[in-house]
Amino acid sequence: MEPHITKVTTHISHNESLIFERSQPGRIGFMLPPLDVPESALDEIIPPQFQREDDLEGLPEVSEVDVIRHFTRMSTWNYSIDLGLYPLGSCTMKYNSRLNEKVARIAGFANLHPLAAEGEAQGALEVIYELQQHLAEITGLPGISLQPAAGAHGEMTGVMIIRAFIDARDGKEQSAKRRTMLIPDSAHGTNPASAHLSGFTVKTIRSTAEGLTDLDHLRELCAHGDVAGLMLTNPNTLGLFERNIQEICRIVHDAGGLVYMDGANMNALVGVARPGDMGVDVIHLNLHKTFSTPHGGGGPGSGPCCCTRALEPFLPIPRIVRTRSGSDGVESGTGVPARDGSVFKLDIDYPKSIGRVKAFLGNYGMMLRALAYTLTHGYDGLREATEAAVLNARYIAHGLLADYEKPFDAAPMHEVVFTDKRQARKGVHTLDIAKRLIDYGFHPMTIYFPLIVSGAMLIEPTESVGRQELDQFIEAMRAIAREAIEDPELVMNAPHTTRIGRLDEAAAARKPVLRWKPKQAATAS
């Protein structure tokens, strides 16, 4: 039974092995100019006991052509956003603009050393300052640090800020009684892990049958008097907006705690609503989600941390501040102030700061891209993107209702969750559906998250998908639902069209092979 596939799906193998298996002694892929200074004997400049012992044995020796072919072939084995819909819920796989890449590569940014004199890096500092302003406006939270390098890093920062605030407010003795962080049962795993890093213990809050935070349970937990804060995502990981958010914040604040918001789902809010207005105290953003900086196979990211004025003193240092030229003796030598006379400085005079969370100023290259994204969209485009993202998710939700179980009735925002309950009756599970979707030319959605939904399939199309492809996706999912009834084996043994089938992950975990070693067998016996 051949499905009517309207997308390119073939992944060509090319029989490409590891680079080490291509390597031949004597091949070179580089050419440096000859040494132009008088050469000393190596022993004279580096004592023998400190010299390399192994002649870098094992490092590959290949030509430039080898490298190009190697990686070009390997790249064809990947699915990517540029190929089509990448509906990973919670990841916001939107278009990665090439214009942003061009901006990041402008020599004046790309070649700038992080320890260059401030007066000679004014353009770079201005970019940070400007992005800070825009993100503060978008979140409604005026305090901001762009130093964290990823969402989890931003979370750690935000939770440490909460800890520092409470320690300062209550004094060491009292604050030691407040070491509980409340986290919903639907939360992303980084949340409890980050809480732990700040010395908190985690208590889980239940969700209601509607999929929202259980206010009664929240009140009950807050009544213990040991709550430092609540970490929540809004819209939550089920794609539902916590409409009681203001009440939630009130309950936590009344109990002496603070509210942290995981900003992973900001793609449903930009230009429409602001966390700061909801009563949230501190949030992290994911520039590699909402602000389209490229996912790159697992990073880099950037996880700015935004907070209220009350929490500002605790933000990481250094902070990027703006002064008027000459107004405070800034040594600017060759520095050229901005057109309005502003001069940007790094300021570390914040004695209450939680400290530095990363060397230098953060993932600067991602800040450039995020600023370019913001300015390319403008206030109109930012809102339009949010609207289109939510519409696309709602459209998919509507299209799949007939065939898949949607556990929560509420209208989803930018992502929607389904379960495999109906298909499981025939022995077909979420994993199988995901693998079969690959045969239809799509990257699967997020599976088995959030944990509170059995067999969860979390779908987030983002605004970067056209109606045709949404229809193709719905069509594919409906076809799989039919296959699950008529030919379950086909689904359970998927994928069938990839260069490699399902891998034995248990064997891989039992006897992990985490690196190549010489004379390693290429295939299993």
Binding site: H11, L18, I19, G29, F30, L35, V37, P38, E39, I46, F50, E57, G58, E64, I68, T72, M74, Y79, S80, I81, N96, E101, V103, A107, F109, H113, P114, A116, A124, H134, G151, A152, H153, M160, G189, A193, H196, L240, F241, V272, G296, G297, G298, G333, G335, R356, K358, A359, G365, D380, H398, M413, A434, K435, H443, G501, D504, A509, P512, L514
Partner: protein
Amino acid sequence: MRYIPNSPDERAEMLQQIGVASIEQLFDSIPEALRLQDHLNVPAALSEIDLLRKFEQTAARNQAASRVSFLGGGAYSHYIPTVVDHLISRSEFFTAYTPYQPEISQGTLQAIFEFQTLVCQLTGMDLANASMYDGSTAMAEAVLMAERVTKRSKVIASAAIHPQYLEVAHTYVQHAGIELQQSLYCTEAGTTLPESLSAIDDQTAAIVVQSPNFFGCIEDLQALGEKAHANGALLIVAITEAMSFGLLRSPGACGADIVIAEGQSFGVPLSFGGPYVGLFATRDKYARQIPGRLVGEAYDKKGRRGFVLTLATREQHIRREKATSNICTNEGLIALASTIYLETMGRRGVQEAARQCAQKAHYAARRIAKLPRFSLPFSAPFFNEFVVRAPVAASPLLDKLARDKGLDGGIALAGFDASRPDDFLVCVTETNTREQIDRLVEGLKDISTTKSPRHKAN
């Protein structure tokens, strides 16, 4: 908006199809009071032409980017072969995400497996992860790992470690019940002497040392490792200038238990401090305690080899608050850039680049040391960074050098250590020509012999 495929008309049709009256209705679940009535106070959209013009003008105010540079201190100017940027810009690499579905992510997974292998080879260790954010956070995570592995709560770090790395470590341990102490370094040699680790005892989880250290000096890792192990503590080695792997004895061969490094020297642009890539390697026996993602070899039913994210039970999405780290997104694309760099340069290229760095740096050091009233305050051997003591205050000297001679001659140490007003850190790489080095030397000589009103007597 050109990044949004569906036209307004298409969107209207879609709304109709799903029975929603208007775009506004999509946001019904957000209380009215919270919905913005006015548009965000951010600028109106810029066209591509205007956007590029704005950024070019802004970039033009970063004079340091186009100067001849001798800046090091944790970020290094090395030549990046053209193929690196070209290959990482392939859609399939840079617009893909974490390889959760291995069947359609083998490109990313295999590249990471090669990356892990290369990191093991360079560090001389058994296993390496798929990357951390950067060297500073990798070092902080190494400290946390040492506490987990040894179940001891004291860590001694050399004061000759990059000051920003030490700051980050302090931030990470502040609520972890770990006491981070600093050991002294010898002010003559510039290195951490084993004797200065007098506080090491059976409560010490690890000693942390950077080599070459912040002053560029090569530490005696073997001796420090022996001291650590004699007390049942781990040796954590941090490296900021990864190019040093090309010439110096591997930390693994010196007895390191955990090696972390900043990988930026391998194919990553300076980019004002990020994104960079943290390398993290350790011994096989600690495989289940290592933070970060790991890619392992795996086979399908037909015996075809592939690669897959493995040992995931260490990580936050499974182990949650008991995870080895909260890290999720790391530095995938940057790790790929480093992988391509290392494979392009290859064994002989890395050796040659490292050799040139060392030779040029020593040439520069010799010539500067001969300048009247200049000296090199530390006697320990170095790789490509060294401290210079000027006869005048270093900051104004370097300022003038930049303004008058168009050279960024080094990093004044006064900003990190007020007791070193005349010292500055010079870094030389394979990208600095002899002509540039000679200009640096002449420039320093010129400026230091012209007394300025702010000149300080030694």
